[in-house]
Symmetry: C2
Subunit: 90 residues, 2 copies
DNA sequence: CAGGATCCAACGTGATACTG
DNA sequence: CAGTATCACGTTGGATCCTG
């Protein structure tokens, strides 16, 4: 729960599924999330090994976040959870 | 996540596995949980259909909480989560 | 562009005391 | 026994402004 719980981590992993995404793009995709929130979650997820942060360029700075192998296993668990939620209509 | 997330729900379901448990007994089994917390979680879980509350006697009042069929499916999902957590040593 | 710093409101939580 | 009520507190999150 510490690793995959909370309101945003699942959505973040989901949006990183198909390749690296830049910070602001991710921010847009996640609609209701403030930038501060997103920074907090991403930092946390990087330390937990769920995502990998990569600086693409400086001036102007560009950063991408990419899901790791471990992150994909977490996403798998979340898929199980989703199937269960759908099955019981929650 | 709304249904099985958080710090306590998993433990509560776990302790109800083998039959109904009274409030205070559950409180003792869950060590660090305050009574207030426990009431909140149990009320919430009753409304979500995870547990069933039953008044056994009044004066002195006795109440038990029992896991429902739906609660057992939730426990199943949590088992998956646990296996994953163990596999990756979190 | 990708954050960091700051301020403030809302919420969750624990401790304690009380009740039918 | 199984809660309810109240308060004090720390944490969390959003909003806003700032920066290399």
């Amino acid at each position: 729960m510490r690793v995959i719980g909370g309101k945003w981590k699942g959505s973040i992993l989901w949006h990183l599924q198909d390749g690296p995404v830049r910070f602001n793009e991710l921010s847009r995709q996640l609609g209701g999330a403030s930038k501060k929130m997103l920074v907090q979650r991403l930092t946390e997820m990087e330390q937990q090994g769920l995502v990998k942060r990569e600086v693409i360029s400086e001036r102007p700075i560009a950063v991408t976040y990419e899901i790791t192998g471990f992150g994909r296993t977490a996403l798998g668990v979340l898929e199980q959870l989703k199937d269960w939620a759908i099955e019981y209509d929650i």
